[in-house]
Symmetry: none
């Protein structure tokens, strides 16, 4: 039996723009459109030309190759003709392949928000769709509030959908604008629309995550007959976000419940780029990827040492719903104080460190890790510190440099002008190749000052760490009160795009930070040598 095609419609650049804290520039939009196009989305909705200068500029050119390029906008205003509606004409002039009109389908909103009659709204839908087609574009309609509208007045909601269909719209998209509709209601209402004469292969679903079910609602709609899914990268969007295409796509491609009946524009090879797509998008948003995200999170295929870990090592498939490689992700069995010998061997192997299970240094490493985790170190969250500890125990980390002493001072007092002022200063004494170097720096706080001072002069290693950047810093107090132990985790990155976490633990937050900073620098130097070794060997 031929599989039915499901079309993927990405609205990251339009509805995603409504996310609190997200504000795309034209350059951002171009970069994201390229990512979406290259990945294989069917449609890329780019924004609302005419609504703001960014979107107008973005639509001055066609921005996609394979994907259909879609402009979003309002239907014709009631009481004016098509040619006399400046907003609609701006939409028709935009360099898009398609126009997706937002059309009211809840009679209450027609009255309150548009202030026109139900019949005028139907006429606006009809004439807008026809105007788009006359301009040589594909026409779509987002039926706003469709599900809530249907509950209030089913006949009118259906009339809106049918009007668009009969006017020739390629897609009639049913929107759960407020995001509160449940999957059972989606199934029931989609079935009613199809029964009313709009075929499923002309219907789309636009779901929001206000009850945590945007993905389930989208898939429920597909089961009920719709053939287009609207969503965003990583589920960004207004309030709780839109349906997450990064979650929906692998489910459609990999799960028998769907891939036996349906196909998308994404094949299994393209799917292997999913984790990178998701992480690249977060990078562009300048935020850390969500570790527990389905399929693409760094924890999505992670297992803590516990009752599952040993079975997982015997046969990964027994504790994984799909293979991590299918979405470009990795399996991770975490080192932790409960871990056994085979966990360690596997964790080391993934880092390119081979060690026999009878090697006494392996026992030494396990003992050290367990002792340190008992005092508060958390190596499962600090891969780079774990790798360093392992390589040190196995004897393969050079002594690049040594910090002989440091002093950090924070002073708060009134300055000459009577203003309260806090100054942080760090002094570091470092020995490199037998020579002692002293560096001093001020910073926003004591850790920042220390970081700057340590990295100020590392002699011949200085050029190597020029691209090292501290990107995240976490502090956790492990036990309260006066005997508090502080754990510091630091995330670093460099120009190769690599990211690594290091850890430090002490009853002194400065000391804990110092340990994590040192591990970060040494890891970077070691990594540089490994890369150089690989290049030399090629």
């Amino acid at each position: 039996m031929a599989k039915e095609r499901i079309y993927l419609f990405d609205t990251t650049l339009r509805d995603g723009q409504q996310t609190p804290g997200v504000d795309f520039s034209v350059e951002d939009k171009i970069a994201i459109a390229n990512m979406l196009d290259a990945f294989g989305m069917d449609y890329v909705e780019g924004g609302y030309p005419g609504a703001n200068p960014t979107d107008t500029a973005f639509f001055s050119k066609k921005r996609t190759g394979r994907a259909g390029f879609v402009a979003f906008g309002m239907t014709k205003r009631a009481g004016v003709s098509v040619s006399n509606d400046p907003g609609l004409n701006e939409l028709l002039r935009a360099k898009s392949d398609h126009i997706c009109f937002v059309g009211k389908s809840w009679d209450y909103h027609v009255k309150v928000a548009l202030g026109c009659t139900n019949e005028e709204n139907l006429e606006s839908i009809d004439l807008s769709v026809k105007a788009a087609i006359d301009a040589g574009k594909g026409a779509m309609i987002d039926c706003e509030h469709f599900f809530d509208g249907y509950k209030a007045n089913p006949a009118y909601a259906l009339a809106c959908a049918k009007t668009a269909y009969e006017a020739g719209a390629r897609w009639i998209v049913l929107c759960d604008t407020n995001g509160g509709t449940q999957p059972s209601e989606i199934r029931e209402i989609v079935a009613a629309v199809i029964a009313a004469g709009v075929p499923g292969d002309r219907l789309g679903i636009h779901a929001h995550n206000d009850t945590g079910q945007a993905v389930a609602n989208s898939l429920a709609a597909v089961e009920a007959g719709v053939r287009q899914i609207q969503g965003t990268l990583n589920g960004i969007g207004e309030r709780c976000g839109n349906a997450n295409l990064v979650t929906i796509i692998p489910t459609l491609v990999l799960k028998p419940a769907y891939n036996e009946c349906f196909e998308t524009g994404i094949d299994r090879e393209a799917l292997q780029g999913l984790t990178k797509l998701s992480h690249d998008f977060d990078e562009l948003l300048n935020r850390s990827p969500e570790t527990q995200a389905p399929y693409v999170g760094s924890s999505a295929f992670a297992t803590k040492a516990g009752i599952h870990a040993s079975a997982l090592l015997k046969d990964p498939r027994t504790y994984e719903h799909v293979e991590p490689e299918t979405v470009g992700n990795l399996r991770k069995v975490m080192v932790s104080d409960q871990g056994g010998k085979s966990n360690f061997i596997n964790a080391l192997k993934r880092r390119g460190i081979d060690v026999g299970k009878d090697d006494p240094r392996l026992d030494t490493l396990i003992t050290i890790v367990k002792e340190r985790e008992a005092t508060g170190y958390a190596y499962e969250g600090a891969d780079a510190s774990f790798e360093l500890l392992a390589r040190r125990t196995l004897g393969s980390v050079p002594d690049f440099f040594r910090v002989e002493s440091f002093r950090v001072m924070v002073e708060r007092r009134f300055d000459a002008n009577g203003q309260l002022k806090t100054v942080s200063e760090a002094v570091v004494k470092t020995v490199i190749d037998g020579e002692t170097v002293m560096s001093v720096a001020e910073g926003h706080g004591p850790v920042n000052a220390l970081d700057i001072a340590i990295r100020k002069d590392l002699g011949r290693y200085q050029p190597e760490i020029a691209d090292l950047e501290l990107v995240d810093y976490k502090v956790r107090i492990l036990n309260g009160g006066t005997e508090a132990i502080t754990r510091v985790l630091i995330e670093s990155s460099d120009d190769t795009g690599a990211r690594w976490w290091t850890v430090g633990v002490s009853d002194n937050i400065i000391d804990a930070s110092f340990q994590a900073l040192m591990d970060s620098i040494v890891y970077k130097l070691m990594k540089n040598r490994e890369l150089a070794g690989k290049v030399a060997a090629e």
Copy 2:
């Protein structure tokens, strides 16, 4: 028609403990169990006594009042009797009301992981359930891999469920251990279990979020007949997490699709504590609440200036699927934030501060709080600092003393014996009644040294703060990178049993800590005077 009861089973302390990066202490577990119990969960699963020292210590006492206290553990090992299985006996001895056994229900796992026959596994289930009942406890069984097991060998999966049911288990919980099952499969398989003779009011669902559908799968199971839902606070859990009870509960309570047929132990009044519960839990985990979380996220009822904002202002219900107050959250229209005045009046009233709604000082206070929260202060988690700020703005806090300057130094170097040593020292200059006092102290770290130095000599106030104790200290980095802002929260207590939280924010961690320490001391002095006033008035 009488509504059917849905039971809420929280496994934050057990499956939540499997979350990468999460590691609860006994004190953490006690605090979380209290939160869950107070909120109204039916069951609180506390961990696995015997598996590690933390869980064993946690189960040395019953830790809940209203909620059933549940211990988790393995069924009896094959080949030994109940009395000769040390793990099972440790479970039976634990101070829990119920035992939830994990029982294999996929024949492949019985062979590979347990290494016993299918019949031996059924016998283990049977005897374990009976042993729990004989010990006076409620018995439950988590049918591990139930859905995958059913797909591989339906007869055996059903036999496992039926064996537990016939042995007298109160709940037979169907687990989607790998998290890959789709809602349509859940509905079909739950129906098959009920058809095989295990009634729905004895069935539970345990869903994971590997395809982003843990909430939908749980609700699909309820629609198919199960009456217990297992999940966690904020959806923490292994890999992509467990079903998020913070999302499921309001959906069950507020959505007609559910509340017309079902009721839970959470009524509408209790539901108003949901946002606080979710945020308090994140605070305990020392992580920022997810802004886009359904119902409880700070963006869940936020609307950006755009096509929706003006309609929202006309009639909020047209763009909100539920009212934010129902879950203790707030509406946020980012263009003009009108809300809040009555919130403030109520918050002040709760602290015994009466202020009229037309008092201009109230507007000043609201402005200050909003400005400070925009820079990172979190008054929701720092009651004492909020009260101080309010009383200062309303003009009723004396200037007890003033810290003119401080200096904190951390030095790490080799001591005379060649040992690495880190020393923290603080010097504080304080003015009390016109007299300047200088104090110096060493501490375990810079904040501890500063705390000791400030409290070393407060002149005539010194006896009053003798019983002041710093009991918890939390640090959060609000934005990563070099421009990180640090928020410090400090919990203090005294001999009256009172506990209070104060907050400080700065790009300098020492400065932030100083602010919170100062607020704590001043609050204590103010509180002493209030108590004295009350005693005098009696």
